[in-house]
């Protein structure tokens, strides 16, 4: 099978993003919490790979550490969505056309009616801005996404013959869902996870940008952009580099997810190309 170029690019970008963040746990070129006013607003140089910000902090180091924030928030938000969404979707599929199915799918529609950022704003208005509230706000919207994808995929598995033989063998709906349905739709869910993960990174950046995400001094890509906004006329690199980092991370994860979906579902590939 021919592996598409987009998928390879996605793998490379995602891998770089991951490595950069893991390395930052052990080593970064410069301290990010130490201010060094003498070195402020330096352009890119050998010493400061991408230059320094208005407090003399190394931009590259801040981007590396900011990746930790993005990954943590987005990953937990995806986990929240999976933990609640997948069982709900399995339940809805197992009890097809029952009151449960109806109830779950209708509440999904209701959650979709809320603009996600508006809910995030409400949550932060009530509980104050923090990383945890950003995770909750993003996570809530992952629940209906996973419930819907799980239900859709599970329904098609339920019609297959081997499920019928599992029924004849005396297995109940719960056991069939866990032992047969879930393993068969897992790859699809992981692909969806990678797409929600990249959306989570974008959402976290947006929330931090408007001051509703992680709070200083924790570096975050979104807040770096917010800080750079007043200096954009004389220090555009402060705004450009965090933006490019976000784009590459999100692009990488999207290409990875799309590519994986095409590889997993050759039927889809034939239809589209």
């Amino acid at each position: 099978m021919k592996i598409p170029l987009a998928f390879i690019i996605g793998c490379i970008l995602s891998f770089l993003f991951l490595v950069m963040t893991i390395v930052s746990l052990f080593w970064i070129p410069h301290e990010v919490e130490k201010l060094n006013i003498l070195e402020r607003l330096k352009g890119p140089s050998y010493q400061y790979f991408l230059g320094t910000d208005h407090f003399g902090r190394d931009i590259f180091s801040m981007l590396m550490v900011g990746g930790q924030t993005s990954i943590t928030v987005a990953l937990i938000a995806v986990a929240v969505g999976m933990i609640f969404g997948i069982p709900l979707g399995l339940l809805a599929a197992a009890s097809r056309q029952s009151i449960w199915d109806d109830l779950i799918m209708r509440s999904n529609d209701l959650i979709f009616a809320f603009p996600s950022l508006v809910i995030a704003i409400l949550i932060t208005a009530v509980f104050g801005p923090s990383a945890i509230n950003a995770i909750i706000a993003i996570g809530i919207f992952n629940v209906p996404v996973f419930a819907r994808v799980t239900r859709g995929a599970a329904l098609s598995i339920w019609t297959l013959d081997f499920i019928l033989s599992a029924r004849i063998a005396g297995k109940g709906s719960l056991r069939i869902s866990v032992e047969h349905i879930l393993p068969n739709i897992l790859s699809l869910l992981i692909v969806q996870g990678s797409i929600q993960f990249s959306l989570g990174i974008l959402a976290e950046a947006g929330l931090s940008y408007v001051g509703l995400g992680v709070q200083p001094p924790t570096p975050s890509w979104g807040r770096m952009l917010a800080d750079s906004q007043t200096m954009i006329s004389f220090a555009p690199n402060l705004a450009l580099f965090p933006g490019i980092t976000i784009i590459l991370a999100v692009l990488g994860l999207n290409l990875l997810g799309d590519g994986a979906r095409d590889l997993l579902d050759p039927r889809l590939q034939d239809k589209i190309r």
Partner: protein
Amino acid sequence: MFSYVFSRMRVLILSLLFASFIIFMMIEIIPGDPASFMLGINAEPETIQALKKELGLDVSKFQRYLDWITGMLAGDFGVSYTYRVPVSELVLSRLGVSIPLALYAILLSTIIALPVGLFAAANHGGVRDWSVMGFTQLGIAIPNFWFAMVLVLIFSIYLKWFSAGGVPGWEKGILLNLKALTLPAFALALPQASILARVMRSAIIDTLSQDYFRTARASGLTYAQAIFKHAFRNALIPVLTIIGLQFSFLIAGAIIIENVFFLPGLGRLIFQGIVQRDLIVVESVVMLLVFAVVLVNFLVDMAYLVVDPRLRGNK
């Protein structure tokens, strides 16, 4: 057809009830009451009591919820705690920015996305298709507020074509205001247009393998004619669905973009409300935004009736 309209209306009303309940409950969790917040820590208990009565806060929670909902239905959103003016007045003055911005952005994204999607689908599998798909992937990955900053850097700071923020006000003329909203609208439209173009492309490609498309070709229509006459109209249904779904993202994006460009819209009103603990403003504006999203989705459902004659049947 009537049962279809009726069932959509039931969804509309249920969504609004659910949303209002959630919003009200969340605002209720916030500790402290607005009356003592407004009067400061040295206020006499009697004064606080009197203000509570004036603001309608001295009744039960359930009564307040009812008052809030019935008030909103009558166009009365309560009185802002900090400005001491009716919230409806604040909202009305902000709508003059938010509604044109949203419409402008939707218009831009549709005008860009539909031809681009059609172009990619007509050339699908080719180099042109691949480059369009590449650009849309990029468009989806770009955070709109960052794109907004780049637009400001290029068009306001270097080229000096547009101002970096604010609106002149509608009394100064329509064109000046539209010009001021151009950069924000482009920033909002970019991710939307990218997604829409992809949906348009795959919707058209889906119709290409349908029997009616082959029939249309067999009856002597050229490829282009068949696409415009048959594929385009059938592709409109998924495209409409996505435009409806995107409206919610557009609202969210607008809140951020208004902050980038210092536009006095609803988004900035919410943020001011949060900073000043003006919760009645936050509560009402959030409800209004949810209403806008639910209403647009209802309108999209109604638009299906126009696009899809099958729904107009007796059922």
